[in-house]
């Protein structure tokens, strides 16, 4: 009997020890338990490191009601159909010679980018598919300051990752947008194997570590095909245009979130102004030989009349 009791006591002691250990582990700030309630409003108030997304429905679903700063946000979006369209030999058109991730992704982050741009820290785009067109970004800049938009165009994936790490480490940018696509540019003297440099989750983990050092909004844009692959990014979003009440809206699907469950879905407006009825076919100003003569005639007449005031002429 005494033996049994002593064994029982020992077991209890060891259990108590284990419990203590587990509880100590649970206190770790990076550990989130599924049974935990989502953070309360007080906790939210304490967290300065978020930026409002600009879409109320997205803010509601996000932990701490905004995009986390200093964390890697992985945004998955389908490739735009222009991706296999060859832009000719002109280098500037398709900068990185990579596949184009659908630009709807940018639409989701633009309001946040605009808010951050006012802090006088530059916005850095790494390997964007095209040249950005400033009037389309609507970033408020002083006339005294140069545009806050900087573009890094690396030629290989190794350089891309290196540049990202340096940018994040220096913490000088307000926003870092990274188009994470394997770059396919051939390099002389390198073997074929090296050219097919694939991004692995190790690279994303390193990016996340680097992002932690910064206080910027870090977004990695990737192809939607990577949805099933594991990723160390704390926040993963999947974006897709969907038909909704006769209009196309962008569906935001949270695959993974820090501090709460993933799986939420919502939609945001996408170019509502454009989604009015299209012009009927018979009104298309397509080149027409018979009409062309007439047009030429009219044009010459118009040009003679209004040559001095040539500038932007508009009609709708």
């Amino acid at each position: 009997m005494t033996k049994n009791t002593s064994i029982k006591k020992r077991q209890e002691l060891s259990l108590a020890n284990q419990k203590q250990n587990v509880e100590a582990l649970l206190q770790h700030p990076y550990l989130w338990r599924a049974s935990q309630a989502p953070p309360t409003s007080e906790q939210q108030a304490n967290s300065n490191s978020v930026i409002k997304s600009g879409f109320s429905q997205v803010d509601k679903l996000l932990c701490n009601n905004g995009w986390p700063l200093g964390n890697l946000i992985e945004c998955l979006a389908p490739l735009s159909s222009s991706h296999h369209f060859k832009y000719g030999s002109v280098q500037h058109n398709s900068l990185s010679q990579n596949n184009n991730i659908m630009q709807g992704a940018l639409h989701l982050f633009l309001p946040a980018i605009r808010q951050l741009a006012s802090k006088k820290r530059p916005i850095i785009l790494v390997a964007p598919p095209y040249v950005p067109y400033l009037p389309g970004w609507h970033i408020n800049t002083d006339s005294t300051q140069a545009s806050p938009l900087w573009v890094v165009s690396p030629d290989t994936t190794t350089h891309l990752l290196w540049a990202c790490e340096q940018i994040l480490r220096s913490n000088s940018a307000s926003t870092v947008l990274i188009w994470l696509n394997p770059l396919k540019k051939q390099q002389h003297g390198e073997s074929q194997k090296k050219n097919h440099y694939h991004l692995r989750s190790v690279h994303l983990r390193k990016l996340q570590l680097a992002a932690r050092r910064s206080q910027s909004l870090v977004v990695a844009l990737r192809d939607i095909n990577n949805q099933q692959k594991s990723s160390p990014a704390p926040l993963r979003i999947c974006l897709e245009p969907t038909a909704y009440k006769q209009k196309t809206r962008l569906q935001v699907h949270f695959l993974k979130q820090p501090g709460s469950w993933g799986g939420q879905k919502t939609t945001i407006a996408w170019h509502n102004r454009l989604q009015t009825a299209a012009i009927a076919a018979n009104q298309w100003p397509v080149y027409n030989p018979t009409q062309d003569l007439l047009n030429n005639y009219r044009q010459e007449k118009n040009d003679n009349l209004a040559q001095s005031t040539t500038s932007t002429a508009k009609w709708s």
């Binding site: 832009y87 630009q103 095209y130 800049t141 140069a146 938009l149 245009p241 102004r273 454009l274 100003p285």
Partner: protein
């Protein structure tokens, strides 16, 4: 006027980086100096080159390089300049190098000769210019020639001697201990051989039975002028301070350049690290002393074959931080081919900007954000000049002309001013991405085809017409949408079954879901359609 002479007897050897091999410096086929390794093998000054080669098979014989010595002396003088405003890089009649400085006026600043000499001593022994430090002797006297002579007498000036004087000194009197010490007595007691003149004259003095300098000086001037030439008489006068001894004062240079010579050769990037760090510390010391920042640095690597590699690092923002400069240099160094060993590393910097002292108050919040310019320099040096650019708006109505790429460069310092003239209205719907060269679109059956997908015109036209005086351009801009392929196919499948029926789907109701929006235009002169932008 009290002169301190720093005599550097081993300078011809100290010009070179210390080597593990036996090294001897030769002049006129005679060994002038040798290092410890060579001395152990029996080499000593005065031996002929052939004898030393016979004694040691591994010895490296290097011809004396007076130019390098001169340069090193100048660098040293630059460092010594912090102790006195009157510094002379002195070379005596027998080509012996020394640095002279007037310390009489600096004594109060440095709290006495004792601490000044201590500082000089540590500076010379732990010097960034030489790993092993400089072998040196001090000489103190009222005249330049006397100080130089005492330094060469190697009795020079010892710190211990100074200390005993220091204790006895009455601090209230502003007389300094060494002033009380009779340096002139030392000069008088110095052997005749130490005189800085032709050997012929020394022999003459010895023949006359003079052993000490004092004995010569005791002679009347008339007797001396009868026996010796005018140069020697002049020298003796200067030694005693009877005539003036004009010198060319050292003035610090307005630019920085230093070099390091390696006898063994630097064969790998790892070998280069140490000398590079050394040179950069020197540069940073130089900048710190002068309260400057540099805007560019240049590295020149010379091989044994005398081939040179130059690495120029342009800084977008003036720097004086050692870490930043080192990091940038390391990135640049990766591009340096190491096919043959490097003999000489040269660092120079010519453009400086005064450091502005920044006032920061205690209550201002310090954001931990790095400098963008430094990041930009790093990216530029690793990925090339064309890898980092920003956009500049130009005055033009054509989108591709108004949106120009501006590569990161020095103009960033002056901050580019964007044109205040805003051609684009905020109400205009503009794409976020632009194709700098518009792409022509195909046209088939009254339909625009983009990548074999039909485009649907949504908004427009908006005419942009300009440059009628040069290259006339007239364009009608439209916003076009691309329907989702899968949805689109479902809805059009019924129509495609009857190819005879030419129905074109354009209206929005049939589209269902958009995939992307494009900015396209119809060139009214070329009569073709182009795609120019993509919406976000």
């Amino acid at each position: 006027m009290y002169w301190l002479c720093i005599y550097l007897p081993a300078l011809p050897l100290e010009v070179f980086e210390p080597s593990k091999q036996a090294v001897a410096i030769i002049e006129n086929q005679q060994v002038l100096l040798c290092n410890d390794v060579a001395a152990k093998q029996g080499i000593e000054p005065g031996l002929t080159a052939s004898t030393s080669l016979a004694l040691s098979s591994t010895i490296v014989l290097i011809n004396r390089e007076p130019e390098k010595e001169q340069q090193l002396i100048k660098h040293l003088a630059e460092q010594i300049y912090q102790f006195s405003s009157q510094v002379v890089a002195y070379k005596n009649y027998n080509q012996k190098q020394s640095v002279l400085l007037e310390i009489g006026s600096s004594l109060r600043l440095f709290n006495g000769a004792d601490s000044l000499l201590k500082k000089l001593h540590t500076m010379l022994y732990k010097n960034p210019l030489s790993e092993t430090g400089f072998q040196h002797f001090f000489g103190l006297a009222q005249t330049i020639k006397a100080a130089e002579l005492l330094a060469r007498c190697s009795k020079g000036y010892s710190l211990a001697q100074e200390k005993t004087y220091h204790g006895a000194e009455n601090k209230k009197k502003h007389t300094h201990p060494f002033v009380q010490h009779n340096h002139w007595h030392d000069v008088m007691q110095a052997p005749v051989q130490k005189l800085d003149c032709q050997e012929k004259i020394i022999r003459q003095c010895l023949d006359m039975g003079f052993n000490k300098i004092g004995e010569i000086l005791a002679l009347p001037t008339s007797t001396l002028t009868k026996r010796f030439n005018l140069n020697f008489i002049n020298y003796l006068d200067k030694l005693q301070g009877k005539t003036q001894d004009p010198q060319i004062w050292f003035t610090p240079k307005e630019y920085f350049h230093r070099e390091i010579f390696s006898i063994d050769g630097l064969r790998s990037h790892a070998d280069l690290q140490q000398p590079i760090k050394k040179l950069l510390t020197m540069l940073c010391d130089y900048l710190l002393q002068r309260q400057l920042k540099c805007t560019d640095i240049t590295w020149i690597f010379t091989r044994f074959s005398k081939n040179k590699n130059t690495l120029e690092i342009n800084l977008s923002q003036p720097q004086s931080s050692y870490e930043n400069l080192l990091e940038l240099s390391k990135i640049h160094l990766d591009q340096l081919p190491m096919d043959s060993p490097v003999e000489n590393i040269f660092l120079s910097s010519k453009n400086f900007i005064k450091k502005n002292s920044r006032h920061t108050d205690l209550f201002s919040s310090h954001e931990k954000c790095g400098e963008f310019s430094l990041l930009a320099d790093k990216i530029k040096s690793k990925l090339g000049d064309m890898s980092l650019w920003q956009l500049k708006t130009k005055e033009s109505h054509l989108p591709e002309k108004s949106n120009s790429m501006e590569y990161f460069g020095k103009q960033y310092l002056n901050k580019i001013k964007n044109n205040e003239m805003n051609i684009v209205n905020d109400n205009d719907y503009r794409p976020a991405w632009l194709l700098q060269t518009p792409v022509p679109l195909k046209e088939k059956n009254k339909c625009l085809l983009f990548n074999n997908n039909k485009l649907h015109l949504i908004k427009g036209p908006e005419r942009i017409q300009c440059d009628w005086w040069s290259n006339r351009d007239s364009r009608d801009y439209f916003i076009a949408g691309l329907a989702n392929k899968s949805d689109y196919l479902k809805k059009t499948s019924s129509i495609n079954e009857n190819p005879n029926e030419q129905t074109i789907i354009n209206s929005y109701e049939n589209v269902g879901c958009w995939e992307s929006f494009y900015w396209i235009y119809y060139d009214r002169i070329k009569k073709t359609w182009y795609l120019q932008g993509e919406f976000s």
